[in-house]
């Protein structure tokens, strides 16, 4: 089992703990990865807003690099998955477009993409390729003291035309993984909604409203922590959580501080595989994850 690893900008920038935890987890599980040399940004849907052809070219270059390695791509970012995976689907199905993009791509880089690569998030690889039973056997510390709220984020689910893995109306892959690790998945409406990240710098009120309502809802349903397959959702829910407390409705006397640990999917996997919080880079988080350790140690 071998993949071309596409970490995405966030895992090599503002969420280094994601890259760190991913390396630990795939090695322990025996999933072989080769990082794509000098990988470039997928554009996160933003470059598409500036120039759709530019976004096609940047992602075609990534896909061509994986094709040259003869490997499918593994992503660890929901936004990269949506963008790179979505563009892959378009390039695979629209031959006219692929040929046109290949002409420019060849001119600029000498590369061309023939449409033979699959783009899969680690979340999907574990459910589909690796298998939940194999994963269960690898668990050394069942997380049965934890209630975990899955937070999918937008781009790993929608638009449905680009994503065929989970049914966006009622996705189940995170729930399956949470159960396989021994924890209990928490059901709440916000699990498929937006984290607000794309507008944080320009429309803070809107974004804080979204963070506050997602975290408060998960907490209200009894979650001990939230887990997400997208580092941008992680940044929103973790970095802005304290400030989003201004936006939530609370009962008199209740604390606005929600103290909800937010985990990257590989970190949750890592805990069940026996890695420590330190090994999984949790010191980088804004919201302390100490309460998870306490629970797991039965304190």
């Amino acid at each position: 089992m071998k993949y071309a690893y596409y970490p995405g900008c966030a895992a090599k920038g503002a969420t280094p703990e994601l890259h760190q935890a991913t390396l630990k987890v795939v090695e322990r599980l025996g999933i072989e990865i080769v990082e794509i040399d000098n990988f470039n940004c997928c554009g996160a849907g933003v470059i598409t807003e500036a120039d759709p052809d530019l976004a096609y070219l940047l992602n075609a270059k990534t896909l061509a690099a994986a094709e040259a390695l003869g490997l499918d791509i593994m992503t660890v970012c929901g936004t990269c998955q949506g963008t790179l995976g979505g563009i892959n689907k378009v390039l695979q199905t629209d031959e006219t477009l692929r040929n046109r993009i290949n002409v420019s791509l060849k001119e600029a880089t000498g590369l061309a993409y023939n449409g033979t690569v699959a783009v899969k998030h680690l979340q999907w690889i574990l459910v589909q390729d690796y298998g939940l039973d194999t994963l269960k056997r690898a668990v050394v510390l069942p997380l049965n003291k934890l209630a975990i709220a899955p937070f999918y984020g937008c781009y790993i689910l929608r638009p449905a035309s680009a994503v065929r893995f989970d049914n966006w109306e009622n996705p189940q892959s995170l729930e399956k993984l949470i159960k396989a690790l021994g924890a209990e998945p928490v059901l709440y409406d916000g699990r498929t909604k937006c984290c607000g990240f794309p507008v944080f710098l320009e429309k803070e009120e809107i974004a804080l409203g979204m963070v506050g309502s997602r975290v408060a809802e998960a907490k209200g349903q009894g979650a001990n922590a939230m887990v997400t397959p997208c580092p941008l959702c992680h940044m929103s829910l973790d970095i802005y959580q304290e400030r989003s407390g201004e936006k939530i409705e609370i009962a008199p006397g209740q604390d606005r501080k929600m103290n909800m640990p937010i985990l990257h999917l590989p970190q949750l996997l890592g805990l069940a595989l026996g890695f420590t919080a330190k090994e999984l880079g949790m010191k980088h988080h804004f919201v302390s994850t100490a309460s998870i350790d306490d629970r797991l140690e039965g304190k």
Binding site: D37, L58, C154, N170, C194, G209, M210, F286
Partner: protein
């Protein structure tokens, strides 16, 4: 086969509390939710209230929540819904004021549509409301409009997109997907003479920049209008029309610039470039920036990774072409 439908009810004449009714009905492969609801109203419970008319996904009246998702009742096959979700829970569309059962207050939806001037303004004088005569030569530029519209004119105004909109949920003033898709439809109409005014109006709060690109509207739309994609087109057209001074427009232009220079996004450099000139906003970011730096979450702002010649060549090919 017999199945049960659970309906979220509300009838302020009877009780101020929301309540639940369960109905047991017979359904076969062809039964739609709307035909089931009509059967319930006619045969079981005449108090059940919902809007419906055409039964064929044309009028847009019967929008409701089906297992938590905004759908036209006339397009829902009970059999398929049971197969994929295993249950049938029906309620009024989300984020709207409920009048009775599935009937919600839609005045705020229509107000948003009206706010974008939902008609062609053929000459500036006509904006006053006086009707103008359609002339034969005006039809000529319309020959290719179909491609330009990208189906934005396919909207049946069922309000599914607004109800499902992540921004509308937290910011009720947001113009919303349907109105913005309609705005796009008029912005690209060659007969319209107030395009720049339209684009300028859409830059304001509650306009195109409040969209978080969550794709909910694209997913629930029964007519493939893809409102979010029309919003993205409006953003692109705004920047092309010189409306590029805002922090929102800078998000797109500076993001692209950083990736063009460095191959990847630099999360420390982007906010500085975006907020440059907007000093109060930039100043307010400093405590967060320090905290991120201390947590090892702020990449060095002046990093220039090597090995990005190919990316730079791709960018150069696009700039040359656009020039």
């Amino acid at each position: 086969m017999r199945t049960q439908i659970t309906v979220q009810r509300f009838n302020p004449d009877r009780t101020p509390e929301h309540f639940v009714s369960n109905y047991s009905i017979e359904c076969d492969r062809g039964t739609t939710l709307l035909s089931a609801l009509l059967h319930i109203k006619n045969q079981i419970d005449g108090t059940l209230t919902f809007r419906a008319s055409c039964r064929a996904a044309i009028c847009g009246s019967c929008l409701m929540q089906v297992n938590g998702v905004q759908k036209l009742a006339c397009r829902v096959s009970l059999h398929e819904e049971l197969e994929t979700r295993g249950r049938l829970e029906i309620g009024p569309m989300a984020n709207m004021l409920v009048i009775k059962d599935m009937v919600v207050e839609l005045a705020s939806f229509w107000k948003k549509i009206k706010a974008i001037t939902p008609y062609v303004v053929a000459d500036e004088g006509a904006a006053s409301g006086a009707p103008t005569r359609q002339r034969a030569q005006q039809a000529a530029p319309l020959q290719n409009i179909h491609e330009e519209l990208h189906n934005a004119d396919g909207c049946i105004m069922c309000a599914a997109c607004l109800s499902a909109c992540a921004t509308f949920e937290v910011s009720p003033g947001f113009l919303g997907p349907a109105a913005l898709a309609k705005a796009y439809r008029f912005v690209v109409d060659p007969r319209d003479k107030v395009r720049q005014d339209r684009l300028m109006m859409l830059q304001e709060d509650h306009g195109i920049w409040d969209c978080v690109r969550c794709n909910f509207c694209v997913s629930v739309c029964p007519k493939e209008v893809a409102p979010m994609e029309q919003i993205v087109r409006l953003r692109r057209l705004s920047i092309a029309a010189g409306l590029n001074e805002s922090v929102e427009a800078a998000h797109i232009t500076q993001f692209t610039k950083v990736v063009g220079e460095e191959g990847r996004l630099n999360e420390t450099r982007l906010p500085v470039l975006m907020l440059w000139g907007h000093w109060r906003k930039l100043f307010r970011m400093i405590p967060l920036a320090i905290k991120m730096f201390l947590r090892g979450k702020a990449p060095f702002p002046f990093k220039r990774p090597k090995g990005y010649k190919q990316v730079q060549a791709i960018f150069k090919s696009r700039t040359d072409r656009n020039r």
